[in-house]
């Protein structure tokens, strides 16, 4: 088992060659994934056309189940987007350089999951042709959206996050796009010429680039946290038992990072296989990602316990009754499945054998995300089935229309992602080179001394000699 994050002896020309090759000849599995994605998407398109023409009835939505899988899946996708930002922005700022080979696809995942999530509010509203009324545009009638509504905050938060993360993704790609430009022919050459914005790689460009990138990273971190807090206020701002929970914003953010990290593991394994990236997406990096996932899983579990116990020891009898009905009511099997997949299964990650067995990890990462999807469903639906007014207690099972659209959203995301990794390098070439450069020099003691010493630092080999110079 290699212990180094990346092979430091790899030649820079080799990096270019390996990554550029990924955009031309992937393994067969890639095309299988494309076909599966398109098929899933077609199911959803069919279901949506039917729903558009007939109304929300065939989805089995009813009174009082006005929201169901659409909103649950919306939160799921929004949540998944957060780990891209965690990996690309937070780990960038704390200078964890092991993120470098894998942040590009994680950031792309952020953008595309947001594009998937953004579809769900549109799919779910009754008159989707009037969706734009949620936006504050100037109209002759002087009508504005209701700024008190969390749904309007959602619209702002998501469009801001989508714009910023797409920009961040694009800015981070510019040096790589210029490498592509220099090596491509035909339409690709034209595309990369436009996209690389005249990048020549001189000092001034690099300096501006670093500044912009750091600025965007600093901007994105609070934005990412606020986005899911705002999504959680869809529920926390209501008065319904099980939704009106003060801990929802951190709970949602933790759940978001959790499902995002699990998705990064899934995509890591897929890309590593499709594009033969064994040299770059190495096992130690996967190992670090898995440990991060485990830590976030424990945060999520802790926040779950807080939520349950604060309801249990509180005075809100209706919320308590709802909590009990989650434990042993009609939705209990899904609730316990969520607890098992979200809080118990991660303990399997404690075993190195599991962490280093790729097929097992692939299955586990998918199961973790199933658990997180169930979590969102268990937030939305039990409250609707059992709230204040006893006459409105009801249990509803979503129809095939809802399931098709939910499954199709995975196809839509998969298709966007697969097309992206085919036309844009999914491993950041210039950052991998940086990483190798730094590691190579760190391995050499003399150079490390020169490069990494500040005035206040002790020299690396002075540990045994005490603080004589201090």
């Amino acid at each position: 088992m290699p212990t180094r994050d990346i092979n430091e002896d790899i030649k820079w020309a080799q990096i270019n060659k390996d990554v550029l090759r990924s955009m031309e000849k992937p393994r067969m599995g890639y095309w299988v994934a494309v076909v599966v994605s398109i098929t899933l998407l077609m199911f959803a398109v069919g279901a949506e056309i039917y729903q558009y023409n007939v109304g929300m009835g065939p989805a089995n939505l009813n009174w009082p189940h006005m929201w169901d899988l659409y909103i649950a899946t919306f939160i799921f996708w929004i949540g998944m987007s957060h780990s891209g930002t965690l990996l690309s922005a937070i780990l960038h700022i704390i200078q964890a350089d092991w993120r470098k080979p894998i942040y590009r696809f994680a950031e792309a995942m952020t953008t595309f999951t947001l594009m998937t999530a953004g579809l769900f509010p549109i799919i779910h509203i009754g008159r989707l042709w009037n969706m734009y009324w949620v936006l504050p545009y100037f109209s002759d009638r002087g009508i504005w959206p209701n700024f008190r509504s969390p749904l309007v905050w959602d619209a702002f938060a998501i469009s801001t996050y989508l714009t910023s993360s797409a920009l961040f993704l694009f800015i981070g790609m510019i040096p790589d796009l210029s490498i592509c430009r220099d090596n491509a022919r035909g339409w690709r050459k034209k595309l990369y010429t436009v996209l690389s914005l005249g990048w020549r790689g001189d000092d001034r460009q690099w300096r501006n680039f670093r500044k912009t990138y750091m600025l965007m990273a600093c901007f994105l971190i609070p934005l990412a946290v606020s986005v899911h807090s705002i999504v959680s206020s869809d529920f926390a701002m209501s008065i319904m038992p099980g939704w009106h929970v003060t801990t929802f914003p951190p709970y949602f953010v933790a759940g978001a990072l959790y499902s995002g990290c699990a998705a990064i593991i899934t995509l890591f394994i897929l890309l590593r296989y499709f594009f033969r990236f064994e040299q770059y997406m190495t096992m130690p990096i996967l190992d670090k990602t898995i440990k991060l996932t485990f830590a976030i899983a424990m945060v999520w579990t802790y926040l779950n316990i807080i939520e349950f116990s604060s309801i249990w020891y509180g005075h809100d009898m209706v919320a308590k009754e709802l909590l009990l009905s989650k434990f042993n009511g009609p939705y209990a099997p899904y609730f316990w499945a969520m607890i098992f997949l979200g809080s118990v299964l991660p303990f399997a990650l404690a075993f190195e054998k599991v962490r280093h067995h790729i097929p097992t990890m692939f299955v586990i990462s998918l199961l973790l995300n199933v658990g997180m999807w169930l979590e969102r469903w268990m937030i939305v639906t039990p409250t609707l089935s059992l709230s204040y007014h006893p006459f409105a207690f009801d249990v509803m099972w979503p129809s095939w229309v809802q399931w098709f659209i939910v499954l199709g959203s995975f196809g839509w995301f998969g298709l966007l992602f697969l097309v992206f990794v085919k036309i844009v390098p999914s491993v950041s070439m210039y950052e991998v080179k940086e990483m190798i450069f730094h590691r190579r020099h760190l391995a050499n003691k003399d150079i490390a001394e020169v490069m990494h010493r500040r005035e206040s630092d002790r020299s690396p080999d002075s540990a045994g000699r005490g603080l004589e110079g201090a």
Binding site: V54, G55, M56, G57, N60, L61, N62, W63, P64, H65, M66, W67, P121, H124, I125, G126, R127, L128, N130, M131, W133, V134, I143, W144, P145, N146, R148, S149, P150, L151, V152, A155, D234, M237, S238, I239, M240, L384, S387, Y388, H389, P390, F391, A392, D394, M396
Partner: protein, 290 residues
């Protein structure tokens, strides 16, 4: 609204928001429903269907919970009496009925959550629903603790009123299409007509000018509809409505989360008022001889 205005009158402004956004109500339409008089005959629900162009969705969709009954008659059985003899499967008083229509809450929870402000509070104290503005996000229904809002899951026009039944539709209000939320309006078209008639005759609206369809139809007169505003302002010169007198008699007041009554035998209560929704419908408890 200028900044100065907000700074000077902040407390007043806040208070107005809590009460639904208006300080100067023209009316405050409210109801009294005497459950002791209610026989559960469902005439009110039928009248509501006829008056408000409610779609008849059919047995199957009612079973799926997609009905459009703005006024629903809730039926509750108490604990069945399953003694030694199994005399009766049900309590010997029979079922209890609660007619539930939109409670026209003064601090309505449905209003702040609507993304497009399709539901808002009128100076009449009504919780209005603008069908044309509604985009069908259904958040209002999710945030209604009484679950009194109904959604057009299908387009019902052709199925519900096949020709010539469309000729029986009430021309005073629209027929809603799919994707729109709707709910009891306290027969706002009748309120509008009554107010217009009073204005033409250059007088105030009198108690009894305006009747909702359910109150008009109820064979036992269990439903009393009227203006509650005089409750706050007895010196307005206008005679109190019957509804306002009943509210005062039963010592139920608007704007409270808990009523303090002098005697325990006063029957008035409001449903879920502890949630601070401040509903405008008062129920009178059923009297039992147990």
């Amino acid at each position: 609204m200028s900044l100065n205005h907000i700074l000077n009158d902040w407390s007043k402004y806040r208070r107005g928001r809590e009460e639904g956004g208006f300080h100067d109500y023209e009316h405050m339409w409210g109801m009294v429903i005497d459950l002791d008089k209610c026989t559960g005959c469902n005439a009110c629900a039928v009248a509501c269907y006829a008056e408000n162009n409610l779609a008849v969705v059919g047995k199957e969709r009612i079973g799926k919970g997609q009905g459009m009954h703005w006024l629903r008659l809730e039926r509750y059985w108490d604990e069945p009496d399953l003694g030694e003899e199994r005399v009766s499967d049900y309590q010997h008083h029979g079922a209890s009925y609660v007619p539930m229509m939109c409670q026209q809450c003064n601090a309505a929870t449905c209003e702040p959550v609507c993304p497009v402000a399709a539901t808002y509070h009128t100076p009449d104290g009504l919780n209005a629903q603008v069908y044309n503005r509604c985009i069908g996000s259904r958040y209002c229904s999710n945030n209604c603790p009484y679950r009194l809002r109904y959604f057009n899951f299908y387009s019902y026009y052709e199925e519900s009123w096949p020709s010539p039944l469309n000729l029986q539709l009430n021309p005073d209000l629209s027929v809603r299409d799919k994707g729109v939320m709707e709910k009891c309006t306290f027969c706002v078209q009748r309120i509008r007509t009554g107010k217009d008639a009073a204005r033409r005759e250059d007088r105030q609206v009198q108690d009894g000018d305006i009747q909702t369809a359910c109150a008009q139809t109820c064979p036992t007169r269990a439903i009393t509809f009227g203006d509650l505003l005089n409750l706050h302002d007895p010196a307005s010169g206008n005679a109190d409505s019957k509804a306002a007198r009943l509210w005062r008699k039963h010592q139920v007041e608007l704007g409270k989360t808990k009523q303090n009554k002098q005697t325990a035998d006063l029957r008035g209560y409001r449903i879920l008022e502890a949630l601070n929704t401040d509903p405008c419908v008062m129920f009178l408890e059923r009297v039992r001889d147990v």
